[in-house]
């Protein structure tokens, strides 16, 4: 492992991406993601040995399409953006998914819709986990809750993108992005970057790959069926192999909190406060938002669930699906910007504890 540093979330994750061998960054500045772009821009000038290229695109539409070109040519490339910029990138996300391109995106979530606000939010959940652009596709979504986990997942994003030939999005938020935290930076990623030839990619099965990319221009029923069947086979493999989550104190719990990202930390402290006053509370913390960790709920029969989100309630749909609507699922909802305190979550836990 690497050295312990005290670093801002955005910068630590940018450094981890560089150490993962990401040499190309295309982006357009947007708060609260801009330090990632700034970090790559500085690295391009100050660390010539890294051979980094940073391009500030004229818009996110271009930045996302630049990634498509770069990864199709066998390079590790990424962008970092936030809600409005991520929306602009959705057309390219759909095309990259269709073409099996291993793009990596860091989405620093903030509250929406529209311009919203520039601090922490989780209102991109639907957009992240349901595709976001047009068509039947899925992105693999990784949601860290600390800067250190963010650094690990940033590197893993490249590994997973290349393993499945699929876009991967790391979903951070405005709190984690700006937080400075003690963190053990990961070392250099041992997995070599894909060969610098056409990478490419009809399918994650190497035997099926061809050395060309169709980004646009596919027509005809047969081809649409072939592509979709190929994609679904891939998504099934991801669902089988890549589910990640953590559970805390669930076995004896009467109430199970469900939370991800920076809000999960608020819930960890709330869980401790509740336990201190005798209310048995546990926590399920999804790390992959897609594929969703349904199996984390499999043995939690007879418990009440409190889904905590910085949105009007989006992940709660997945919690309900995971418990197959057999159990009561309640919502703790805040709009974001300012994180709620553990005591605010505790107040809802107390109320829920009274519900028969």
């Amino acid at each position: 492992m690497g050295e312990k540093v005290f670093m801002q979330g955005n910068m630590a994750m940018a450094e981890s991406a560089i150490r993962a061998g990401c040499k190309l960054f295309f982006g357009y500045p947007i708060t609260p993601s801009s330090e990632v772009a700034e970090y790559f821009a500085k690295a391009m000038f100050n660390r010539p040995e890294e051979e980094i290229t940073f391009i500030q695109a004229e818009t996110e539409v271009s930045a996302f399409n630049m990634i498509a070109g770069a990864v199709a040519a066998g390079h590790r490339a990424m962008t970092a953006t936030s809600g409005p910029g991520f929306s602009l990138g959705q057309e390219a996300m759909s095309y990259m998914s269709c073409a099996d391109l291993p793009a990596v995106v860091l989405d620093i979530m903030r509250p929406g819709p529209g311009d919203g606000d520039i601090m922490a939010g989780q209102s991109d959940y639907y957009q992240l986990t349901r595709g976001g652009g047009h068509g039947d596709y899925r992105n693999l979504i990784l949601a860290p809750y600390t800067v250190e986990e963010g650094c690990r997942l940033m590197q893993e994003a490249f590994v997973l993108a290349e393993k499945y030939h699929n876009p991967v999005v790391v979903a951070s938020d405005g709190n984690l992005a700006k937080l400075r935290e003690s963190v053990e930076l990961p070392g250099r990623l041992e997995v070599p970057a894909p060969e610098s030839q056409y990478n490419v990619l009809s399918g994650f099965d190497p035997a099926e790959r061809e050395k060309h990319v169709y980004l646009t221009g596919m027509n005809g029923v047969a081809e649409v069926i072939m592509i979709n069947e190929r994609l679904q086979k891939k998504f099934k493999a991801i669902e089988e192999n890549e589910v990640r989550y953590e559970r805390y104190n669930c076995e004896d719990a009467d109430i199970v909190l469900v939370a991800y990202g920076s809000l999960a930390r608020v819930c960890i402290s709330a869980m401790k406060l509740a336990r201190a006053e005798g209310i048995k509370v546990g926590l399920v913390r999804p790390i992959t938002l897609w594929p969703y960790p349904e199996k984390a709920f499999a043995d939690l029969n007879g418990k009440k669930f409190l889904c905590c989100e910085l949105s009007a309630g989006q992940m709660i749909d997945d919690v309900k699906l995971s418990v197959e609507n057999k159990h009561d699922v309640y919502l703790f909802s805040r709009w974001g910007s300012i994180l709620p305190s553990p005591k605010e979550v505790l107040a809802d836990i107390r109320k829920l504890n009274e519900v028969k």
């Binding site: 312990k4 005290f6 809750y145 600390t146 709190n175 700006k178 937080l179 400075r180 935290e181 003690s182 920076s262 930390r265 608020v266 960890i268 402290s269 709330a270 994180l339 305190s341 553990p342 005591k343």
Partner: protein
């Protein structure tokens, strides 16, 4: 173990510097540390506030019941005193004139600026504050903070003795 700290003042008072030194010392002592700075939009004289959480496990990263709150100006008291914990300590610069209305009843008023001027330089008020805050954080070794102060001023070595003296003044001040 979890300690929540909130320090707030006006740009130029060295609040962030104080917070950063404490964070570095807590990391050296093996704790998880989070630091969330808030800056006012003003170029000079704006708000500088930092939320610090030091813990043995991963915890909530925002301050909602401060164990130690340091307030250097009037406006900061109005904005943050409700976040001082009942079991914590609220440390006020003697320049703050209004009476606190906070859940925290353990209030210590310290003439940071006056003490700094007695040492010959008003700018070391933040080091006096650092020393005073340190009294409430017994898991951070004093010598570790001393060494970090030396490192902080390594490029201006002639300022080191004065800053160390200020640190000691704060640490030994009884309020």
């Amino acid at each position: 173990m979890k300690k929540e700290l909130l320090f707030s003042g006006i740009g130029g008072q060295g609040i962030m510097n104080l917070g950063e030194i404490l964070c570095a010392a807590a990391i050296k002592a093996g704790y998880n540390v989070t630091f969330s700075p808030v800056y006012g939009a003003e170029k000079r004289g704006g708000r500088t506030m930092c939320n610090i959480v030091m813990s043995t496990e991963i915890e909530c990263q925002i301050v909602s019941e401060a164990d130690v709150m340091l307030i250097m100006d009037e406006a900061s008291l109005a904005d943050y005193q409700h976040l001082a914990g009942e079991q914590g300590v609220l440390i006020l610069s003697a320049q703050v004139e209004s009476t606190p209305d906070s859940p925290c009843k353990n209030i210590k008023t310290v003439p940071f600026i006056e003490k700094a001027m007695e040492l010959g330089n008003a700018k070391v008020a933040n080091m006096i504050a650092l020393g005073f805050v340190l009294k409430y954080l017994d898991f951070i070794p004093y010598t570790s903070v001393e060494n970090l102060v030396k490192e902080t001023f390594a490029s201006k070595a002639k300022l080191i003795p004065l800053n160390l003296e200020a640190l000691k003044t704060g640490y030994e001040y009884e309020a």
